[in-house]
Every structure is written in C-alpha cells, then in structure tokens.
C-alpha cells in the first residue's frame, strides 16, 4: 500500500516536471557506493577483529557509524542545489584552511610522526581530508568564473589558492594527502581549460620538483625510503620493503578465489601493517582472491566512469569541474593505495576511499559522491 502510494506520488510529480532532480538520480553510482561501503565495513572488521576467540567489534561499530553519518552528509550534499553551494565554496575553503593552521598548532594531535588531527573524544578529525573537498570547490569556482580565459595572473591565483592547503598539509607532514591535492588541482586545471603551454611548463616544474625533493634534505630519510622502495625492491636495508613484501605475499595468497572471509592467514595474523587503513586492499585480496578484488576494482572503475559521465553531462562548467575533482580524488586514491599494496607505487599513506577505516576520509568521500549525484540530478534544471 505504502509502496504503491509513493510510486503514484512519484509518477504524478514526474508527470508534472520531467526535469525534477529525483527523476535523474544515478542508480548505478548509488549502487556502486553502497556495495563498496559494505565491502569496506566487512574488510575493516575482518582485519581488526583479532585472532579471537572473543572478537573485537570496536572498528566495525565505528566504521558503520561513519558510514551512517556519511550517508546523511551525502544526502545533504546531494539535496541542496550545487549552484547554491557554489557561493559557499570560499567559505568552506576558509574554514578548512583555518583548521589546517590550527592542526599544526599545539591544538592538533600527533601520531606516526605527523601532526594531522584533532582529538574529539574517541574520534579523530582530520581536516586535511576535508581540504580535498574545499580545494575541489574553490578551484571549480575560480575556473568556472574564468570561463577558459586564463592568463598568467589568473594561473598564479589558481596555483596560490591550491598551494596554501598543500603547504599546510606538508607541515604536518602528510605526503600522501598533499599528492592527492596536487592531482586534484592538476585534473581540474586540465579540464578547466588551462592553456597547453602552461600544462607543459607545470608538468616540467612538477617533475623537476619531485626529482629535486628526492635528492634534497626536504624529505626525511624514512620518507625517501618509502617513496623509492618500489623502484629498487632489491635494497634489503630498506625497511619499507618488508611491508610491501608482506603485503604482496598476502595478496598473492588470495589466489584466484580467495581464502574466504575471515580466513586470510596473512591478514588474520597481522603480518601486514596498517591493515585497516593504508593496506586494506591486502585484506580484500587475500580473503576474496582475484575474483573478489578485481570485482572491487571494477566497482571502483564503474564509479569513476559514472563520475566522468556526470562531468560530461553536467549542466554547467562548475558542475563539470567539481565532478572532475571528485574523479581525480577517487581514481588517484585507488591507484595509489592499491598500487602501493601491490608494489608498483611508492609507499604513502593514502586511504582507499569508502573501504579503508577512517571517519574523515569516509565522510569526505561520501560528501563528494553527494556532490556528483547533485550535479547528475540537476543536469536538466
């Protein structure tokens, strides 16, 4: 009865207005998101529940809670017309930048050598995660204002806007998140009509910068080791290698069909470090095998395709740029995180969005997907 009444109301509404946002939600994107979230919660639980016989459920509960909060945030970010959010881009940027300043002040807390979070009771708030979203917003805002007409002055303004959060995050330091911001900025600038010559110059500067950084004292020894471990896997003195080795063995141990849920011995016995976050993919791969882990990658691919598609069909350039930023965030997180676990990318702590444990990253990812849904729904309005 209830279902019936809802569907009648829907059809009535759509009959009234064929461009109504609710008629154009993207079910594929929502489906992918839900499945990935479920895989994430299960993987986090399997890699944190311990050897038993009494299993720890604290991560399971926390992560589920983040998912619920994230779902709420997603709805909010999808419901409010993104063109209204457009006006809030600078404010959001300002707030996150202020938080990034505060977090490196004595107010912030430290772990693993990086001062990157605020302690909020039992939770840790990582402002750098939100900075991804605010950077997407503010760069999309600027580029949609410039309408493809970019001179050096405007380019410097864009770069300066992007550089502030990057520099602040490097102060923590968090190399992985800085890299994500760089990739997001590059993707938005690319699609935002940055003249090709600038792109060439920026790419050159970037390459020189990376090579220079690796050979200068800017990076700590451990950072350099982590970054270069994948290039030189024979260097036994490099401790970062042990993690990558264990991680690759765990992935290989999954074989084609996987060891089964909760039955991955490498995962279960704690041979892979940071398993619920940076190395979550090893847990997926060992337990679910090539079949399961390639399905997860396919879901990611499909998600990325839907975001890319939304960027194509967006009503305005602001919507396109937002989607491109979100696409860059998801695609690069997946590539870097999974690539690191498989030994083809440098070791940097980047979460596998929607799957790795972590409140700030999960909520940010869901918020970003909310924005994409938002753009998709309102492509006819």
């Amino acid at each position: 009865m209830l279902q019936h009444s809802i569907s009648t109301r829907d059809s009535r509404m759509s009959r009234r207005d064929p461009s109504a946002p609710l008629r154009h939600v993207d079910p594929v994107l929502i489906g992918c998101t839900i499945i990935l979230c479920i895989v994430g919660v299960v993987s986090v639980y399997s890699s944190t529940r311990g050897p038993g016989p009494v299993f720890s459920k604290s991560y399971l509960i926390k992560q589920s809670m983040f998912m619920v909060i994230g779902a709420g945030v997603l709805v909010v970010f999808a419901a409010v017309d993104y063109r209204k959010l457009h006006d809030w881009a600078w404010a959001f940027y300002g707030v996150t930048t202020a938080m990034l300043v505060l977090v490196v002040s004595p107010l912030g807390s430290q772990s693993n050598g990086a001062q990157s979070w605020f302690a909020l009771g039992p939770f840790q708030l990582q402002p750098a995660e939100f900075a991804k979203l605010s950077l997407i917003g503010v760069l999309s805002f600027l580029l949609s204002e410039f309408r493809g007409d970019i001179d050096v002055r405007r380019l410097l303004a864009l770069l300066g806007t992007a550089a502030v959060p990057m520099a602040l995050i490097m102060l923590q330091p968090d190399l992985g998140l800085t890299l994500i911001l760089v990739v997001i900025a590059m993707a938005i600038l690319l699609v935002g009509g940055l003249p090709t010559k600038y792109i060439v110059v920026l790419t050159l500067v970037g390459v020189i910068g990376v090579v220079g950084a690796l050979n200068s004292p800017v990076l700590a020894e451990y950072q350099r080791n982590r970054l270069t471990a994948f290039v030189n896997p024979a260097d036994k003195s490099n401790k970062a290698l042990y993690n990558i080795e264990q991680s690759q063995q765990a992935i290989a141990n999954g074989r084609i069909s996987g060891q089964g849920l909760f039955d991955g011995p490498q995962t279960k016995l704690g041979f892979v470090p940071e398993q619920e976050t940076d190395f979550i993919f090893t847990a997926v791969a060992e337990q679910f095998g090539f079949i399961g882990s390639s399905l997860v990658l396919l879901l990611y691919g499909l998600l990325c395709y839907r975001i890319w598609r939304t960027a194509q069909v967006a009503k305005d350039s602001f919507g396109t740029y937002v989607c491109v930023g979100v696409l860059a965030m998801f695609a690069f997180s997946a590539f870097e995180n999974v690539g690191m676990a498989m030994g083809i990318m440098p070791v940097t702590g980047i979460p596998l969005l929607l799957i790795s444990a972590g409140g700030s990253s999960t909520i940010t990812a869901l918020a970003a997907l909310g924005l994409v849904l938002n753009v998709h729904m309102r492509r006819f309005q």
Binding site: T196, Q249, A252, R255
Partner: protein
Amino acid sequence: MDTTSPRLRMSLLGVIVIGCFVALFARLWYLQVMEAPALAVQASVNRTRTIATEAPRGRIFDAKGRVIVDNRTSLIVSIDRNQLSKVADRNDLIARLADVLTANGVPIKISTIEKRLADKRADQLGLVSIATDVTEEVIHHLSEYAEDFPSVSFERKTVRVYPYGTAAANILGYTGRITAESLKSLEPGTDPDGVVKEYQADSIVGLAGVEKVYETELRGTPGIERVQVDYRNRPVGTESYQPPKSGNDIQLHIDIDVQIRAEQSLVDRLAVLRGTPQRDGAIRAAPAGSVVVLDPQTGGVVALATAPSYDPQEFANGLSQERYEQLQNVNGASALIDRSITGQYAPGSTFKLVTAAAALSNGLIDANSSIYDDGVYTVGNPEQTFQNAGKQKNGTINLVRALTVSSDVYFYWLGDRMDGSTLIQDSATAFGFDKKTGIDLPNESAGYVLTKAEKKALHTKYPTAYPNGDWYTGDNVQLAVGQNVIVVTPLQLARAYATLANGGTVYQPQILWKVLTPNANLSNPDDVLRVVDPLVTGTVTLPADVRGPIISGLEGVTSGAGTASSAFVTFDQRAFPIVGKTGTAQVDGKADTSLFASYGPANAPRWVVTAVMEESGFGAEAAGEVTRRVYEILANQTLTDAGAATTGTRD
C-alpha cells in the same frame, strides 16, 4: 584543433584513469595468478614454524637379550625468552624459580639461570632450558602456582641411560646435539612406515660407535608439529601434528658379561704390571691395551675392550677443554682411541701362524722338517744376526715344537728360505691382514705388511721417514716373526685366529646382529625386522697337513713346556682346551708389547680371544693372563649352555 577543448581534455582524463586501472588489473593478475604459487609459499613460510619433538632412540640389546642402552624420561624446566622480556617482575621471577628448584632437590643459582638465558642457543620458539632432570616435586609446584611463573614451562624429554655404566663405551659410542655441518650433510633415514626422519638444528644424533653407525636405525621419527604464528612469532594454532615414534631397537653380538670381564681384566692387569721391570730390566709403563673376543663361526664380535677408556656420559653433557686434554693423556695414553680396532702393533710371534701356513702350504717344510736351534741365526750380506728371546737354545726342533716353545730361530730360517718371494705377505693378506676388516665401527685402521716393492715405494715417497728403501734378507727374517715391516690391529689378529679355528673362512667381524621393531619384544619373532647374516670376505686353504701341525704346536702353548703355561696353570683345560700363541714384540727403548692370540675350546672352536698390551712385557705374563681370565667366564658359559642344552639364542 583546440587543445583546450573541454571534450578533448575530458577524454584525455578518461584515458589516464583507464590506464591506471589497466595497470592495477595487470599487476593484480600477475600477483594473484602468475606469481601466486611462489609468493604464497613464502607467505606460508613466514607464518608457520615447525616444532620438532625428538622421539626416543631405539634400545640396544646384547646377544643374550639384555638391554645395554636404554632411555629414560628427563624432566626439563624451560623459560620462553620472548615472554620473559614482557614479564614485569623478571628478576623476582628468576629468584622465585631458583628458590623452587633449590627447595625441591635441584640446587641452582640465580647466576646460573641468567647464564643459561644469555646463551644464544635456544629452540625454534625461543625456549631456553634452565634445569634438566628436575624432580616431580618441582613440576607439581610449578603447575600448582602456574600464575606465579609466567614464561616458565616444563617438558619431558627422553635421554640415553646405560644400565651397565661405562661398559662397552668404545662400542656403543654416545649421542649429542647435531653439528651444523652434519645438519647439512647427514642423510635422514626413513622409519618402517616410510616417514623421513628429518633433522632439526637441535636434533640428537649418534656421534660415535654403534650410535653413529646405526643412526638411521636407532633414530626415532621426530614428532612434527606445524604451528601457525602471528607476526610476533607467537603460536596461535596447530596446522598439523605427527606424533613422535621410537626408533628401531637393535641387538648386538656383544655379550655384556664377557665385555665387562675383558675390560676389567685388562685394566686390572695393566695396573698390576705398571711400573714393574720386565725380564731385560726395562720398566713396564703398561699404559694401554685391548682385548677382542670373536665368534669364529660367524665373525660376530662378542667383546671389544680397550684401556684406558672414558665415560660417554661426559660427552653427552659437553666436555670441557681441560677434561678433553686429560682424557688424551691417561697414564701416557689417550682414552679416546679404541685400540682394539685402531691400535696398530707389530704382532711378534703371534704372526708365526701366518709364516707357518705359508711354509707348509707351499711345500717348503712338512710337519717333521727339523733344524738345530742354538739360539742364534745369522743371514745376509752385510751380515745380520738374530736371536731367540734370552738367546734360549731349543736344540733340534720341528714346526710343532718351534710353535710351542716359540723358537724364533726356526722361523728366521723359514723367513730366510722365503726371501725373494712374497709368500709370507700373500699368506698374511689371505688371513686378512694389510686391509681393514670392515667392522661396523668408525675409525678402523688397516695395518700394513710390507713387500719389497712397497718398502721401495715408501722410501721414494717419504725419504726422511723411511731412510732405507732396500729390502734385505733380514727384513724377510723379521717379517717371519712379525717384526719390523708389519703392523696389525688386534681385531685383524683375532680374525686370523678365527680363520684358523673355523678351518679357513675369513669373516667380516660384525657388531650388529639383528634389527628389531621399535619397543621390540625379544621373544616375539615377528619383532625381528632383519638378521645380519655372517659375511665371508675370503678363504684360506688350510688342508689337514697344514692346519694339523699348526694347531698341534699351538695346543702346547698353554701347558707343559709352552710359553704361556704359567698363565694357564689355574685353568682346567680338560673340558676347555685352548689353542693359542704368545707374542712379545720389541719396541725400541720401551718395554715389549705383550700379545696373546687364541681360540677355544680346541675341539669345537667357539671363541677367539686376543689381548694386546702396550709396554707390558712378555706375552704370557700380561696378555696371556688377561686372556685366561676372559676364558674363565667363557668356559663357564660353554658348560652352562651345554648343560641347559639350549641353542636358541645363538643359532
């Protein structure tokens, strides 16, 4: 073309993203499908540890079915070093443990425990053994107050036990922890079920004697538990478990009563003679000697005594350098050599058996060929003079008499007549000299019997050690009486007399008689896995006209005018007549080597007994005495066996 076109740029972005995902899929395929088998093995090695439990070794029985090497359970208290490092009141814990051990009959100091904990050797899971052979009370206490003793555990291990103490130590050998080289080179055997008895770093193996030679039989099948460990090497579960199985029991030809008698007689006699002067005034150092008892009908080794000897238990517990050096010089001789198979001596007159056989077989003499023995014999150019012991004149004598009274002159004459040939050497080789007997014990010596060609070759090869490469008639003359160009091992000597006793068959001496099932019941024939058959390595043609005169001559040795009659005065030879020969081999600047080689009873030879004693004087007074004492127990056994009319144990 507008390179800033959003459509173009979007496509470019799409291509990049697709490229990234293709790379991920390719790598995933490589890791999970192509490389998976190799990487998964590595992973499995990472997270499993193998814990091996040594299985009890097989027991060793003597010929009469008595257990001469057994096992017992030893209670061992260990500390898990990894766990100990996390114990808050570590020092208190160690002090408590020392108190409990000391209060329950295992006195130990805190410093001793600390020393053992600091020892780098520990087993695969970091267990360090703190005290062995602790009492049951200790175990009771530790189990009762387990929560007061974190990281402390106990286990029961089987260790070797020797019901007859140090008897037959030279034969049985000893066991100990496997060495790093052996771990690589030692071929693990399989048990009766075909399971490979793999070695681990802390495996116990036979390091000497029968324990070493029959390692593959005696070693049990270790219990193998494969445990899963987590990344901190803590065990979290068992993947597979194969319980330990005892090794095969074995039975030897050794008769422990005879062995003990031989050892004791030898040690006693050496002690009596030590420091006394022999006939020519040289002082007898009497440092060492050996006794061999063989079964002439099978080659079975009934006893192998050597003095000085050692306690194998000392080796099992690890020998200090100081103690090792002490053992290398006990009364001037090393206790670590089994002289019965490794010692090499000039056989002296005991070798006349070989010379006589050579002369008789080749028709040089017959039983009646006589010469006049005036005590001295001169040969060759340049002239060399040889004489009887004490220049004793024996008058007109034939071979039989010459053997009985030990006329060297008669044999100098034979040696002289056979010079230019290798008749004596050939006879010696036929009797089994000049090569290893092949006994199933390590470190056997081969001895040598030089020929003219060999002496030359030795001189060419080692001009300083052998300054003279020419073969003189004098060399052959001395060879005829077992001197100068010949050395033999006591075991070779015993085998030659066994060959005479059994009519010409040369057997390989064997220690092992039967291989039995683990925990065998000797009265159950099904428990015999295999019986080692006698092994014939050659024959000596000994027709009646050769064997007869020799035996006649040797029968007289232990009575009447015989050279060993004094040693056998107290021995009743009517029931147990003995055929034997004394030997007194001269050693430059030292007292003589005393030898006696024999078998008995003459009519139905059952035992061969030889004794060789260094720097102990005349053949009869040292070796003859010891031999007689061994025969006392053998004669007793023969009579008992005849009375009981049982042939069951030795068929």
